[in-house]
């Protein structure tokens, strides 16, 4: 495999520079805190429940690209593929707290959990109430009995959409926590890796996959999944993935869902649309209706080839929150009612 061709300056300053670019792309809607790689919304009203997200960088637009109206209020950004040190979420917490508590929402990885936990303890010492929910949507990473040990992958987008909507409309942290937990319970994802992305500092592949083999359920950094197999057709692959995904919640006839086909990086929208076609046919067969669809590179791992399918089962409350308009650099959306 050739080294990836990357458009970079100093490979060690990637996180700093991308955040600067992101703040500028936000056109005034997000600001960076001095001294730490945290982005926050400057315009939060007093009393708003605050939503803080974050994790390693290199997965753009996740997480820091999802700060904005009806999305996250702040993001704590680590170095490439590395958890932020606790001062980053801690400073972000102080900056977005409006007297009504802060929800920490991030992917369930050990480094993130430790550092956000420390930040939460520091915030608690300052009298700020913090609650934590870890995103664990990847069905390949642990069996259903140990669902809370699962990794967070593309379900991050829907988690932030729901939690962000709740934090924008609900008056108490308890309410926001309640609906965000409900989202955790109703979101499932499964991915497939076709080829590795690269580590920006070195251009080396993030993992090795034999030619012509793919791995279903492989994590976004190459973490082991369900198993390796030969490449197959889009329809067969989608069927195989959906079968496992649907059985997990399980999703049932009559369910209404949001469907996300997420590109891991270099897989094109063309391919994701072909996957969407196959997925919709299978969902229709099972009597599952799709309320709304998102397609694109939202949770990526550099130019990794592959995609994931995420389903979020809706009730009226989740549907209402999903349908809120959203405005962030990485995810934008008109409201359902139009404008």
């Amino acid at each position: 495999m050739n080294k990836a061709r990357k458009i970079l300056n100093d490979p060690l300053r990637v996180a700093d520079e991308l955040l600067e670019g992101l703040v500028l792309a936000g056109d005034g809607k997000v600001v960076k805190l001095p001294g730490v790689n945290a982005l926050v919304r400057p315009d939060l009203p007093e009393g708003k429940v605050a939503l803080l997200v974050g994790g390693g960088s290199g997965h753009e637009p996740l997480f820091h690209g999802f700060v904005g109206k009806n999305m996250a209020d702040g993001a704590a950004c680590g170095d490439i593929f590395a958890a932020p040190s606790p001062d980053v979420p801690y400073e972000a917490t102080k900056a977005i707290h409006r007297g009504n508590g802060v929800l920490y929402l991030y992917g369930n990885y050990a480094g993130d959990a430790m550092n956000f936990d420390i930040a939460a303890e520091m915030a608690a010492a300052d009298g700020i109430r913090v609650e934590t929910i870890r995103i664990c949507d990847d069905v390949a990473s642990a069996p259903p009995e140990r669902a809370s040990e699962r990794r967070g992958i593309a379900g991050d987008l829907y988690m932030i959409k729901i939690a962000g909507g709740a934090a924008a409309t609900y008056p108490t942290l308890d309410e926001v926590v309640r609906v965000t937990r409900k989202a955790v319970d109703n979101i499932r994802s499964l991915g497939v890796a076709l080829a590795a992305g690269s580590i920006p500092q070195t251009g080396e592949p993030t993992f090795l996959l034999p030619d012509d083999e793919i791995e279903i359920g492989m994590g976004v950094h190459g973490e082991p999944g369900v198993g390796r197999q030969k490449m197959t057709s889009a329809d067969a692959l989608t069927a195989q993935m959906l079968e496992r995904l649907l059985a997990d919640l399980p999703f049932k006839q009559g369910d209404s869902v949001c469907l996300l086909v997420n590109s891991l990086g270099s897989t094109t929208m063309m391919e994701c649309l072909i996957v969407n076609r196959a997925a919709r046919a299978l969902l229709a067969e099972r009597g599952i209706t799709v309320h709304a669809t998102d397609i694109g590179p939202y949770v990526t791992c550099q130019e990794m080839a592959g995609f994931s399918i995420t389903l979020m089962r809706l009730d009226d409350e989740l549907r209402r929150l999903y349908d809120l308009p959203a405005d962030s650099v990485g995810y934008r959306k008109m409201g359902k009612a139009g404008a």
Binding site: L12, G78, D79, F81, A82, A83, P84, S85, P86, D87, A110, G111, M114, N115, D117, I118, I199, Q201, T202, F207, G219, H221, G222, E223, P224
Partner: protein, 217 residues
Amino acid sequence: MSPEKDAWDAEALKRALERAADLILSETETLTRADQAIGDGDHGIGMARGFNAVKAALPACEPTVPAVLETVGRTLMLKVGGSSGAIFGTLFMAGSKAVSEAPFDAEGFARFLEAGLEGVQKRGNARPGDKTLVDALAPAAAEARATLHQNGGASLGQCLHAAARAAGDGMERTRGMVATLGRAKTLGERSLGHPDPGAISMTLLLRGLAGAMNEAP
């Protein structure tokens, strides 16, 4: 066993920690290579960032033993980043709460390691055998306590050297372990044969402290 070296006051403890920081800083490259082999290669960078900050923070720190240890912990936590920032930060923060304002002696050192280990395991849920720095820290803590009891009371120097040796042996044993936690977990069997980077850092820290005991003040 000279009684005046049997315990460190806050200023002596600062000097010993500076000496340990220098040892870690001189081995940055080793840590980087170790983390490149089975992790993501950032461990050396993170530790260097952290211990440079420790050296900068120590002089101004309030001269009590718990305050010195707490300052080191807070500094590492905020500056290292990644998993090891949280872990080393927790080691010192939790350890600082187990020691008194009296000079840092063998009993204090053993308590520091025991409480630090407890904090680290609470924070990260690593057990011995998971191929983390716990595999260096746990035997070091056990050995410090055993040395103290063995002779009906040992000197701080004896305990420091014994703990550093135990950490080094534990670190060497991580070569034979398959990582089950953290980033190296991704590699599975491929992590075999390589020592755990955090266990190397842990060993260097204790060796640095032990080395300080033999130096002129």
